[in-house]
Point group: C2
Chain length 515, copies 2
């Protein structure tokens, strides 16, 4: 058991994680990286076929060919979300090869990946570093994994690879379309998902890169979101994923009156505060509430005759419609959430695919997240200091990943859109179970019962005064919720860490304890 | 003076160049790299403005801000060709700052850059590593530069940066369009040049990157051929270049009957040899002869009902017309040579910008050059062993760069299209003045007096037998030329190296001697 230390957020965190020293969180801007980027081995064309044909007959043979061995780090990506078939193939093949103690480094995992529980149990997998949505998170929460889970944001994952904290031995990239050289794209093919940005870092820094596709085209695969010059082998398979579970055919707006009210209040806040000004920018995903937000915002933009310079996706049909109508000039997209998003990215040059490098990497020469005007996000808990949790539930169970959530907090106005309670459990609490976002960065919390503005943002408070919006101190909101629901008892958590939450700069922000 | 060693091509080369050890050429496939890629320092967003505005008022201030200092390596790029104004601004500003002994590392230099002769004379510049077309090459030939010139192919330049052989301290990128964050593109703006691929390596590996633009647009600049996340400063200037000298308004086909015959013979060879088959690929530039080749090839393709999967640019109006007509499916473009090329790249997703990484880097996991069916190239000299020269004239003067020429020799059929003599000097010689391309890779030499096929390519000889094409042994061609022109006396060159020619794998292929 590693030593624990109290970090700058007052959280007890291990100073060593899975055998690597890790700096505790030192406060915003408190950590300055030293050193140089990871340096992959120099390759040579002598080792690759002159005709560019890198096909391997099976994934198992490709893994054997690139030298998969005990203890290696194997990465995969969540572009195909809960429809992904490839990550399971990888570890099934690894099991057949008799390889053990692998570290799985997914950009995120989903319920479909609960297949890996048997590989964790059998020893093929040692542990997982990456977002664990659902069953794998629960498995980790129970302390059943041999190593610690490490939860990183999308930007933090790039940072960890780039900075050499995580060395990927073998990256396996599920590609909706690819050519035999390894050029690959996500924007077309039967399992089209839009983009492959989460795999970009792996393609650049991993020792070995395998592309798996169910839609092989002759060279050149255009666009080449992943460049074949970084790829070792290409494996054609009958299917990489279930299209119905990759993107939605249609996007559904929330029908909950409470959530619609939250969305409307948030949009009205943006207008009243003057953030929704000509040439502004916003980021909103495709969850039911944030989608409703986009629809309300669009109405207000139209009334005011305002257009946006860009919107950041997760793209969806509403955003695409705004692009086509000239209401946003560009979509800078990190992930497409429905078929209209995919089609638009494949056909409209103003719908641009991005990567965690452009959008989120904190160890770059700037990134886009800090100059987005409005970011609309969710949370499982918010506390009186505006600190927020997005990975555990109030019972302490790890059930969600961080995604781009931490990175988006850098926006000029980061807003959490949350119902005031879920299953009669208040969302506003004294102290979050797990700290994922420091309160200094959360500007506004919007509930159906009112809007709490972080007192650090006096500028926003001034801007909306007299707007008629229900602006309330967060403590008032909490008091009302506590009266309605009662204050739930805190869960009793063990003193055994099962995972850590990293901050965007690579420091350890908090610990997830065994339930 | 460094020691000289005879390399595997029998050429005497220095073993140390500008203070760095350099391996002599070891034959094709004889050099295997070890070690890891260059690793730039890890940056942090803490050092860059949160609003993404990296503008500096002048280039001089930007250079001072990034810490330009004596002895540093400063790079620039030849996208604006002989219309470039930026590289001269850089060294004029460096002179004003009182900086000395810089190494200039251009992707190529042109006559417009003879401005740098005064900076070489004054000591601001120590030496140049990069192609020197015209006056700077002549200056180097005369032994007036303090260091040795190092001539690398486009792929070799990427390789040298990537492998850490050349560490760029400050890269200055002339950008036809850019935003204040540093995203930049070449495909639009008053000085549009198409793409910025030659600057890509520098943007990834240089310590500091400055973008200079005369067309600043609000974030985001789309496309972002250069990513602002790699950029330190953005300098707006009134003009980065003279459009008339950047790309041609119109492309001119050679009117010389001899050169038209060469082009026609080459195209007929491709058809007769069966290389011009459905789905084939070719690379041809925009010189008068190669342009004529494309026109002849197009006619033959039409007659045969054959379309190409892709063409590699230098793009030009003819290639663009073929794309539009569906005669080629994709243009994979390394450099646009006329306005139609620029317009097409900016508007047609099938006209794709490439970089030396995708196309030419020999130290990648393959590159495109080796699976192009036909590459059509020029040369200043070819010898009886099919060895070729592209940088010096027969008088020994260094007047040309290598460009992508060496890299293109990897094509399945590399063809040199050369007039049999120039100014009454035969092009076919006993031994080339400077070895730039090993004869093993030159498959066919086409002159107006006949076609010489490398005896190593018995397959090609068999394929064209009975075609009626004037296939002749290269010795026969040479004998005929010698009868016509007489054998010119060899120039007397000194024993003082002034430059070296690197092979695509980073080894030293030959030496250029002071004239």
């Amino acid at each position: 058991m590693s030593a624990l230390e109290r970090n700058a957020a007052g959280r007890l965190v291990p100073t060593s994680v899975n055998g690597r020293e890790m700096a505790p969180y030192r406060g915003l801007g408190g950590h300055r990286p030293t050193g140089r980027k990871a340096a992959p081995a120099v390759a040579t064309c002598l080792d690759y076929p002159e005709d560019g044909d890198k096909r391997a007959p099976t994934l198992k043979e490709a893994l054997a060919k690139v030298g998969l061995a005990d203890g290696m780090v194997v990465s995969s990506h969540h572009h195909l979300r809960n429809g992904d078939l490839v990550a399971n193939m990888v570890f099934d093949a690894a099991a057949e090869l008799g390889v053990r103690d692998l570290m799985w480094f997914p950009s995120a995992s989903f319920p479909v990946h609960s297949n890996q529980i048997r590989h964790l149990d059998s020893g093929v997998l040692h542990h997982i570093e990456g977002s664990m949505n659902g069953p794998l998170g629960d498995y980790c929460s129970q302390g059943r994994m041999r190593g610690l889970g490490v939860l990183r944001s999308h930007g933090g994952r790039w940072q960890a690879i780039q900075d050499g904290e995580v060395h990927v031995d073998v990256a396996v990239i599920a590609a909706p379309t690819a050519d035999p050289f390894g050029n690959a794209t996500g924007d077309r093919g039967p399992a089209a998902c839009g983009l492959l940005g989460f795999a970009l870092a792996d393609s650049l820094y991993a020792d070995r890169v395998i592309v798996v596709t169910d839609n092989l085209v002759p060279f050149p695969c255009i666009p080449w979101q992943i460049q074949g010059n970084n790829v070792d082998a290409v494996v054609p398979v009958p299917s990489i994923g279930d299209p119905a579970k990759i993107v939605s055919g249609t996007t559904v707006v929330t029908q909950s009156p409470d959530r619609r009210r939250i969305a409307e209040l948030a949009a009205r806040f943006c207008a009243a505060a003057g953030i929704m000004r000509p040439g502004f920018s916003f980021q909103a995903g495709a969850g039911g509430t944030t989608l409703a937000f986009t629809i309300y915002l669009r109405e207000l933009m139209r009334s005011a005759g305002v257009t946006a310079r860009f919107a950041r996706g997760g793209s969806n049909t509403v955003m695409v419609d705004m692009l086509r109508a000239g209401e946003v000039e560009y979509i800078l997209d990190g992930q497409t959430f429905d078929l209209d998003g995919v089609t638009s990215m494949a056909s409209d040059p103003r719908h641009v695919n991005t990567s965690p490098f452009t959008s989120y990497n904190f160890h770059g020469k700037g990134n886009f997240a800090s100059f987005v005007d409005i970011a609309v996000l969710g949370a499982t808990e918010v506390d009186l200091g505006f600190n927020a949790n997005v990975v555990t539930h109030s019972d302490g169970r790890l059930l969600h990943g961080i995604g781009g959530w931490q990175n988006c907090l850098a926006a000029r106005c980061a807003m959490l859109l949350v119902p005031s309670f879920r299953d009669r459990i208040p969302v506003i609490v004294d102290e979050v179970t797990t700290l994922c976002g420091p309160g200094e960065l959360v500007d506004v919390v919007v509930t159906e019962r009112g809007i709490a503005v972080n007192p650090r943002r006096q500028d926003l408070l001034d801007a909306v005064s007299g707007s008629g919006l229900p602006i309330r101190p967060i403590a008032d909101l909490k008091a009302e919720l506590d009266r309605l629901c009662g204050v739930p008892s805190r869960p009793t958590l063990s003193d055994q860490p099962v995972a850590v939450v990293k901050w965007v700069d690579g420091t350890v922000l908090d610990t997830v304890w065994r339930v």
